[in-house]
């Protein structure tokens, strides 16, 4: 059986230098295989979100390139956009619209429509237990409900690659568990996933492979167990602290130079 490897990611020398010459991501290279669940870990300000934003075509790299399903994020952003879905802690849902209207709107943007779209919406709402609230304004939802809706919003068009940037930030343990289960389920359906999180346990449990980055550079990359063994530590948290140090990260970078796109 021939399998089309269209959920693969190849990152080559990806670099983002913000105004003022600050390199948030500094010549980063790695590969993610089709269907893999890849973790991206690092302290605050390490450059995780900047990497994610470049890979999702939201931010133009200063240097380097990346290929998703073989398509350059620089030269073929439209092809890339059809393949990917994005979930972050900033919820991409409109409060004034109902859950169904939200999904219908985004579905239309992906060229979906008609009966098929309505069926897909029903199916997805059911998947995240929101069917009962389909016709309620999203503004009345709890944060957890919104994030569940936001997740299926990203899945509407059956993306090959799903980017999850801190998807569990600020959520209650029930929702965190729900999202974790959903990620596991999606992983079984062969969708490629890139996940950033602060929760070491979650990353350790979910990621097949992961990279630890700091100051825009990759410090370690590989399977979690292998990395722990190689570094002589017993869990991911120890590995993380060993590699990135124990000092607090109270950088003023955001206030000084990043008023535009403020991301966690």
């Amino acid at each position: 059986m021939i399998r089309v490897e269209d959920g693969s990611i190849v990152v080559k020398d990806l670099t983002k230098i913000f105004q003022g010459g600050f390199a948030a991501v500094d010549h980063v290279s790695f590969e993610i295989k089709d269907g893999e669940l890849f973790g991206l870990l690092g302290p605050n300000g390490a450059g995780k979100s900047t990497t994610m934003r470049m890979l999702t075509t939201l931010l133009r790299p200063t240097e380097g390139d990346a290929f998703i399903g073989g398509h350059s994020i620089k030269d073929e952003p439209d092809k890339v956009r059809l393949l990917i879905g994005l979930v972050s802690d900033k919820l991409i849902v409109y409060d004034r619209l109902t859950a169904r209207e939200n999904l219908r709107f985004f579905g239309h943007l992906y060229g979906l429509g008609g009966e098929k779209l309505e069926e897909r919406i029903d199916e997805l709402l059911d998947e995240v237990d929101l069917s009962r609230f389909a016709d309620r304004a999203v503004g009345t939802f709890s944060t957890g409900m919104k994030q569940r809706l936001n997740l299926v919003r990203a899945l509407l068009h059956n993306p090959k690659v799903l980017f999850l940037d801190e998807p569990t930030l600020g959520l209650d343990p029930q929702t965190v568990r729900f999202i974790k289960d959903l990620i596991v389920q999606l992983h079984q359906s062969d969708i490629t996933m890139v996940l950033t999180t602060h929760e070491m346990a979650l990353a350790e449990e979910l990621s097949e492979r992961l990279a630890i980055i700091d100051h825009g550079k990759i410090l370690a990359i590989g399977e979690p167990k292998r990395l722990e063994e190689e570094n002589g530590v017993k869990n991911l948290e120890d590995l993380f602290l060993k590699l990135t140090g124990r000092q607090l990260r109270d950088t003023l970078g955001k206030e000084k130079s990043a008023p535009r796109v403020i991301r966690g």
Partner: protein, 366 residues
């Protein structure tokens, strides 16, 4: 193909924006109240009188020989020495009246051969500009009194638009229609773009396989629809409560509103792209809005401004839009009479949009 897709995507976004808007009762209430209050307020208010000089006036001398032959030359001489009027000579009354409709002069002074009989001197004033009309009448009256005495006055005054009741409001209504549409286009658009960026939903639009230009076009369309609805509220109000008669082809009026709005939509996009947040963008636009409101002839005739502010008014695109609307809506002018302002609006729109779209695309992927 691509164009059709982009257009469809734009309309989807416009529809979404309007749906969002329609869900907020507070916003709808504010939206309706804004023009209502504006009209109620200014409908009863009269702008203070200013010093108007050098009012352009057409002179038609129908009596080059005979008893009245000296009037025209003397009138011209006295006008220029007093500085109150700028006399432009026309060879026929019809041509001179066209000049009024085109906004080149504010009145026509005619000397008929039966001078000094009653009504042998006629002044036709542009009554849609009541303040200028009154000033014009006074200036002509005072020049004539020194020429021919004032009792009995041979001067007969009539209006260029006798159908229009002469009130300040007649003058202001088209200005408010233009101003409302422009404000919605400029500030409204900047606000919705900035809001989506701040709450993060802009990312959702940007990761979707649609053109950047569709996003901004869709949002602009939604704002224009809102602006036109508010303009409609104003028109209904001035017609129903203030006895203003609105002329002009409605489609032509809407076309002028849309064309005039485009450039301001562009300015709105530029402000949002350059500003770091919604508040900054709003403040930047306020800086533009206030002078515009007072200098572009919405409230006071441009000619009433000091000469140097008249030059400022002439570079404000809203001045041309309001001018075109006034001629269309009150003077019932045809397309030909508004070509000049239309051309200016077109140039402004092309430049502003031409700058705005690339700046926007760059700003959102920076």
């Amino acid at each position: 193909m691509t164009f059709k897709k982009n257009l469809k995507d734009s309309l989807r976004i416009a529809q979404k924006d309007l749906l969002e808007f329609s869900r907020s009762k507070m916003r709808i209430a504010t939206f309706v109240l804004m023009p209502v209050i504006l009209i109620a307020l200014f409908g009863f208010m009269f702008p203070g009188s200013g010093q108007i000089s050098h009012i352009p006036i057409a002179l038609v001398d129908e009596a080059p020989t005979g008893e009245g032959s000296y009037i025209a030359t003397a009138f011209e001489r006295l006008s220029s020495t007093s500085g109150s009027l700028n006399v432009i000579t026309f060879s026929s009354v019809a041509q001179a009246k066209q000049a009024v409709i085109r906004g080149e002069v504010y009145g026509v002074f005619i000397v008929y051969p039966n001078f000094p009989a009653r009504d042998s001197l006629v002044l036709i004033v542009d009554n849609t500009n009541p303040q200028v009309a009154a000033e014009l009448e006074a200036s002509v009256g005072s020049i004539l009194s020194s020429l021919v005495g004032s009792n009995p006055s041979p001067l007969y005054v009539e209006s260029i638009a006798p159908w229009a009741p002469s009130s300040e409001f007649e003058y202001m209504a088209p200005g408010f229609v233009g101003l409302t549409v422009v404000m919605a286009g400029m500030a409204g658009l900047a606000a919705t773009v900035a809001r989506e960026r701040e709450i993060g939903t802009m990312d959702g639009l940007m990761v979707a396989p649609i053109a950047r230009s569709s996003i901004i076009t869709g949002k602009a369309v939604a704002q224009m629809v809102r602006g036109l609805l508010q303009a409609a509220i104003i028109v209904v109000m001035v017609v129903a409560f203030f006895g203003v008669k609105v002329y002009g082809n409605p489609l032509l009026i809407i076309a002028v509103l849309i064309l005039g709005d485009l450039g301001f939509v562009g300015l709105g996009i530029i402000a949002t792209s350059v500003a770091s947040d919604q508040e900054t963008a709003t403040m930047m636009l306020m800086l533009l809005e206030f002078p515009m409101m007072f200098l572009s002839g919405v409230l006071y005739p441009v000619i009433q401004l000091p000469w140097w502010l008249q030059y400022v008014a002439k570079v404000i695109p809203l001045t041309y839009m309001v001018e075109a609307l006034r001629r269309l809506m009150i003077l019932n002018a045809g397309l030909g009479a508004i070509m000049g302002p239309l051309l200016f609006m077109l140039v402004f729109a092309v430049i502003a949009i031409g700058i705005a779209v690339p700046i926007f695309s760059r700003a959102v992927t920076r």
